[in-house]
């Protein structure tokens, strides 16, 4: 199979969907002739023009507000935020409008909106451009939250997000854009709520999200050398969440390590751990281990940033602690 970059898989999904459906447009900052701050819309302006690839001033609240209105009135907008951190400026249209409208209007309107942005540390982009805030939106019913970890998942999940009639928040990790992976040339989509077992194993279950899947797979290879056979599960979508695959794996291995780049306190790792303790308590052979980013702002200094998020070493240590 051909191998392409994560970012190219995303652009391919956008292009194919925009050709398929004329109601789709993209709105955001520097996404036109510039091709996006992370080149995530490169070449689309030339193909679809300024009416469907809309450059805006620095106005995140306006971008999302416009997109919500357009979605409610029949378009299928894709709103891009240059950095996931800027979502704070647009919280009201997301949380109080997008997430609620379909429910409050008794299902009389659809809200086919994709909010596409990036997240994560590792590029020395400092505290206001490196956060992993997707966990917040799992606490707002009405929003779907997607975290693709490979080029294949990125394309398949983005297509599903665009075709969904509800608001979807789509989070891409900055360090994944240039990663290559197998992506078929033929059409495919990946359903939401279906976790992917990225590596099968029998000794310990590692549930990892986004870029942490990569780290966990590397850790699993190291652990295999020492005779520990780790299973790595990528939920792919946090909302809806595929609990069954996680629980089934824990029933098999009896051990669980959860790795997520969000802050440990009040984040995704706690939610996942609670689910397993509630539903598979009798199958646990060791305390659940959670790895999240440290509870500090993301440091600018590369040497400090390195220890901020869970590393391959941290994952290996957590596994060994319970194996």
């Amino acid at each position: 199979m051909r191998k392409i970059r994560y970012v190219d898989a995303l652009i391919e999904a956008l292009r194919e969907e925009m050709i398929r459906d004329e109601d789709i447009f993209i709105i955001g900052e520097d996404i036109g002739p510039f091709g996006g701050a992370f080149k995530t819309t490169l070449g689309l302006y030339e193909q679809f023009g300024s009416e469907r690839i809309i450059d805006t001033p620095i106005s995140e609240s306006g971008i999302i507000g416009t997109a919500v209105g357009a979605a409610a009135t029949g378009c299928r907008p894709i709103a891009e935020l240059m950095f996931g951190d800027f979502v704070t400026v647009a919280m009201d249209p997301i949380v109080n409008q997008a997430a609620k409208m379909r429910y409050m209007f008794g299902g009389k309107l659809k809200l086919p909106l994709v909010i596409k942005t990036n997240y994560g540390s590792g590029r020395s982009a400092a505290a206001q451009h490196s956060q992993s805030l997707y966990g917040w939106f799992t606490n707002v019913p009405g929003l779907k939250v997607v975290l693709p970890s490979t080029p294949y998942d990125a394309k398949g999940l983005l297509k599903t997000a665009i075709r969904d009639d509800n608001p979807v928040l789509f989070f891409e990790h900055k360090l994944l854009y240039t990663v290559t992976g197998e992506v078929p040339e033929e059409e495919y989509t990946i359903p939401f709520g279906v976790a992917d077992i990225k590596r099968a194993g029998r000794d310990v279950t590692i549930v990892a999200t986004g870029y942490m899947v990569t780290k966990s797979l590397q850790a699993a290879e190291e652990l295999a050398k020492e005779g520990i056979d780790a299973e790595v599960i990528d939920p792919r979508t946090l909302v809806p969440l595929d609990k069954a695959t996680i629980i089934q794996s824990v029933k098999k291995t009896g051990r669980l390590v959860i790795v997520d780049e969000g802050h440990k306190t009040g984040g995704i790792t706690g939610e996942l751990a609670a689910i397993v303790v509630e539903e598979a308590f009798d199958y646990l052979d060791a305390p659940v281990q959670r790895l999240g980013s440290l509870d500090v702002p993301v440091p600018f200094s590369p040497s400090l940033e390195k220890i901020f998020a869970p590393s391959e070493k941290d994952i290996i240590a957590a596994v060994k602690k319970i194996c």
Binding site: G254, F281, D282, Y283, L284, D285, A286, P287, K321, I322
Partner: protein, 422 residues
């Protein structure tokens, strides 16, 4: 070095013991084997003896203290000897709220705990290898394996291997059947080597397997306790002769069935079944009589014995036993028993114990009648009397020893005075 005296673990379920009374004071001389302290476990009282001669150097817990098992409670040594520092676990006294008792918490993973519970293992005896000293699933599995394994010394295993002997077949003479080298050597002549073929192979199937599996499950799940009494059969034999002369044929077993039924009416705990978490007392008294047939052991059941006369019991038994021998019993005729009698008197057995027929709660083993010298109080002389030994096997989960003793002696009294059966 001073010797530790620890709170002993007297049973799998014992987690702590109470110091009732120190029989020696700190500083007093003690001799090896001398009672030192009185301990109360969850089941009984006993005296802990001094493990060696010396001075009771230090006592950590006073009378009334509740102490976790294996905790050091005192030191014995030579006068003036220094003792190791002991971090005494704070003791609680019995008058305190029981919830406050300091029992060392055993760490065990939920997965391991579930497995231990399913296998009916007391996990307190399992060695933990998990993180932070926690018992994990693997530890429980290892324990189960070790239980299943033959207990042997490594030398014995080596010798057996060298000689080509199947070690599982060697009878161990050590503690809890541990096999020593001598046992292996002794068995060389008796046990066929691994390569040698058996004389004849009989498949373990059908009635053999049915009976075998049921009885092993009974023996291994129901704790059996045994109660034996000798019964003076003089009057029964007289009664039987009299009935015979009147044309009524009765067997000794018929009398025993009737006597058992009368005793069961008084002691319903033996006409009972333990199922799941409840003990059921049966309304009917249905007595099974074990019959040896060429097809194996069959236990036809005389139903509703409490409502039947001796002649009715006798007639039914003759018919049932005859049809059992010729394999013509209906299924319901050997089902529904609530108590069983196994009579091996005809085989010339002096005494034996029987395995309870599940889900019943007791079984009566009956041996032969033979004349024995019995001391007669009235004439102050030994006189020859026809004596018969009966042994009750009772399920200790359902009933206690005292009641079982009363029950079996009640049967004895009925048999010794058959008029009381009327």
């Amino acid at each position: 070095m001073a010797t530790e005296l620890i709170m002993p673990k007297l049973g799998l379920t014992m987690t702590e013991g109470t110091i009732v009374n120190w029989l020696k004071k700190e500083g007093e001389n003690v001799t090896e084997g001398e009672p030192l302290v009185e301990i109360l476990s969850d089941k009984s009282n006993f005296e802990l003896e001094a493990p060696e001669t010396g001075v009771l150097l230090k006592v950590f817990y006073q009378d009334g203290a509740v102490v976790p098992v294996v905790q050091v409670i005192a030191y014995i040594g030579q006068p003036g000897e220094k003792i190791e520092k002991v971090l005494a676990v704070p003791a609680t006294t019995q008058d305190e709220n029981t919830e406050k008792k300091e029992v060392p918490k055993i760490k065990i993973s939920p997965r391991a705990k579930k497995l231990a519970q399913e296998q009916g293992i007391d996990y307190q005896v399992i060695i933990a290898t998990g993180p932070d000293g926690r018992i994990i699933e693997g530890d429980v599995k290892k324990y189960l394996e070790s239980m299943a394994k033959v207990k042997t010394t490594s030398t014995a295993r080596k010798v057996a291997e060298d000689m080509g002997i199947a070690i599982e077949q060697v009878v161990g003479t050590g503690v809890s059947g541990r096999i020593y080298k001598e046992d292996v050597l002794k068995s060389i002549k008796e046990i066929p080597t691994k390569q040698e073929e058996a004389l004849k192979e009989i498949p373990y199937t059908g009635i053999r397997k049915l009976v075998g599996d049921r009885l092993s499950s009974s023996k291994f799940s129901a704790p059996h306790v045994y109660f034996t009494v000798d019964v003076d059969m003089t009057r029964i034999i007289e009664a039987r002769e009299k009935l015979k002369s009147l044309g009524a044929k009765t067997s000794l077993t018929d009398f025993i069935v009737l006597a058992s039924a009368r005793a069961l009416t008084k002691y319903p705990n033996f006409n009972a079944s333990l199922l799941e978490d409840k003990i059921f007392h049966h309304k009917q008294i249905n007595i099974g009589v074990a019959v040896a047939t060429e097809y194996g052991l069959i236990v036809p059941v005389v139903k509703n014995v409490q409502a039947k006369s001796l002649s009715q019991i006798s007639m039914e038994s003759v018919d049932l036993i005859e049809r059992a021998r010729t394999s013509r019993l209906q299924i319901e005729e050997y089902k529904g028993g609530t108590f069983t009698i196994s009579n091996l008197g005809m085989a010339g057995i002096d005494n034996f114990t029987a395995i309870i027929n599940p889900p019943e709660a007791a079984i009566l083993a009956v041996s032969r009648v033979q004349k024995k010298p019995v001391f007669d109080e009235a004439s102050e002389q030994f006189v020859a009397k026809p004596m018969m030994t009966i042994t009750l096997s009772a399920d200790h989960r359902v009933n206690d020893g005292w009641e079982a003793a009363l029950f079996v002696t009640t049967i004895q009294k009925y048999l010794e005075e058959p008029l009381s059966l009327l």
